[in-house]
Amino acid sequence: MTITGPTRADALLDALDRGLPHGEIPVGLFGNQEIYDRELRRLFGRCWVFLAHESEIEAKGDYVLRKIGEDSFIVIRDEHGGINVLFDACRHRGVQVCRSDSGNTSHFRCPYHGWTYNTKGDLVGAPLWRNAFGGMPKEGNGLTKAAKVASYHGLVFATLDPSAPPLEEYLGGMAWYLDLLFGLNEHGMEIVGAPQRFVIDANWKSGSDNFAGDDYHLGTLHRSVWEIGAFPVPFRENMMGYHVQAAPGHSLSFSMAPTEDEPGPKFFGFPEELVATFDTSRISAHQLDIARRSRVMVANVFPNFSILALPMTEDGAHHPPTGVVTIRTWQPHGVGQVEIWNWFCVYKNMTPAQKDRAYRAGLGTFSMGGAFEMDDTEPWITVSRTGRSVAADLLDFKLNYQMGMPGVGIAKPVEDWPGPGISYWTRYEEGVQRNLYRFYGDMMRAEPGAWPKFSFDD
């Protein structure tokens, strides 16, 4: 006889449902093993997950090894220029076939018995084929592919779920906001080199939660960056701007001056010669206007892909801040660990000197050795410790996500916001994070094949 009943994970998800309308979140989400196991299947096993940028695999045969959840996938450009996302496991015994983090190849040969696969993942041969496998079809014995692969502005995503909607439908309103950063000119962006990788003892959601629009932490946690002149906008002024729930699950935040004529950085601090190439041939006048007025854009595409654009410098005494773009994934690495993959992006038509400046400014601020980011990991480590806490459970400890709810603080809904989604003025607001957790709860409960809504108006 088997006894089934509500698990601890169910209880936490119930507590999330009950708490969210009041701005309360159970901390156990950040430390419970059952929740984590369910996340791997129901979020990372189903959602569109960011893997690579097309500029990393420009030539035929170029590949990088990346992760969906905890699993390795080869992202490779095949002989015909198509991008394939192949599960890195030999069909014979499950052995890893890709032996490098990146490279260029015409095939992968398994080190165990020598099954060999081409850049599309097809099985093309094995030693002494006729003796060993003569009569067995090669078709159907290739590397297993992700269910769907798509890219948007060169950002390559994949999903393991054949029932997933097309990428653009999944991104919903978020696509409009990606356009106004990645689509400002016809050249678009490229990656500098290869991603940095770090593992820290925190839960992956702390990164997504932070990049969904936790601007309020800057004044305390990152106070040192003003003391050394790394960032040009004072804390209080930087809280002016918009919080946007672009679509269920996807949130972002803009730092913007209250009026257009205010001095200070425009277009995320990009150099003027670059800004001169931005136009409305690919985006609307509204999108260009938001980009023009923005000092900072920080965003999270559910579940774990984050984007940040802002003016920074690694050496305030010698270099004024310049526009920096970092993209990253918060890759789950067990319930209590996250691997941070951090890429720097530059516009393709920047001069080599501008690219170098942007890269150095980004590296010196938004990397594990950077003045900004090195402080972030400190609190996230203890969030995950609280998430594992028995006391938190026994004492009915809940996290407060109430900022900007009716009667709490000064944030107000914006009625005439020109973009998709729900917008608030001033960034004293945590609806962006509540939006993340509402969709999270829905995905964690959705039955196989069923999907929550991707738009607020459906």
């Binding site: 032996r99 490098s100 983090d101 990146s102 490279g103 500098v192 080199g193 290869a194 940095q196 990788r197 770090f198 593992v199 820290i200 003892d201 305390t220 946690l221 990152h222 106070r223 040192s224 960056v225 003391e227 050394i228 790394a230 690694e314 050496d315 305030g316 005494a317 010698h318 270099h319 691997e339 150095r360 590296l363 010196g364 990397s367 594990m368 050795g369 003045a371 980011e373 090195m374 402080d375 990991t377 400190e378 609190p379 480590i381």
Partner: protein, 170 residues
């Protein structure tokens, strides 16, 4: 370019320089280190590394780094650690630099020094240390009679870095 023999006065001077540097860094005397031991023209780099097949070499990726510092950016880092808000290192982690296998060679004014480096680090109540192992390839240069760090390239034995930040100095 000639090898500096162990036991020679110059070799002893280099070893002592390395030991004093480690002492300053282990004792959080970062400003003393920067102002007394580092050249204004320093290039200080920790390149990014990937796993690659043997035939492709050691996996260091051209032009991408974990740290790529000049004197100005090093000064920013030191100044940051001196603010009251450098949470990453306050309370500071306990750090010990173990520097071994020192080999020196002389080329005019410059002394090339290769050494193995092991950094042992704990924070808060951790009992498992974070370990960072690698090779330092330095160039020391005499400036007004004083040996200064002119180039440092730290080749880590890691592709994924398992420490909560790189607010430390290698």
């Amino acid at each position: 370019m000639g090898r500096v023999m162990a036991g020679s006065p110059l070799y002893d001077e280099v070893v002592q320089w390395m030991d004093i540097e480690a002492e300053l860094l282990d004792e959080y005397r970062e400003r003393e280190w920067l102002e007394g031991m580092v050249s204004q023209e320093v290039v200080y780099q920790v390149p990014l590394r990937q796993t690659v097949e043997r035939a492709r070499g050691t996996g260091f990726v051209d032009g991408v780094y974990h740290l790529d510092e000049t004197y100005g950016s090093l000064r920013s880092r030191v100044a940051r650690n001196e603010t009251a808000y450098a949470w990453a290192e306050d309370p500071p982690s306990r750090i010990r630099h173990f520097v071994t296998n020192i080999r020196a060679s002389e080329d005019g004014d410059a002394i090339g020094v290769r050494s193995n480096l092991l950094i042992f680090r704990t924070r808060q109540e951790q009992t498992q240390p974070q370990l960072l192992s690698g090779e330092r390839r330095d160039v020391l240069r005499r400036e007004d009679g004083v040996l200064k760090l002119y180039r440092r390239r730290v080749l880590l034995d890691l592709t994924v870095i398992g420490t909560h930040n790189l607010s430390i100095f290698f």
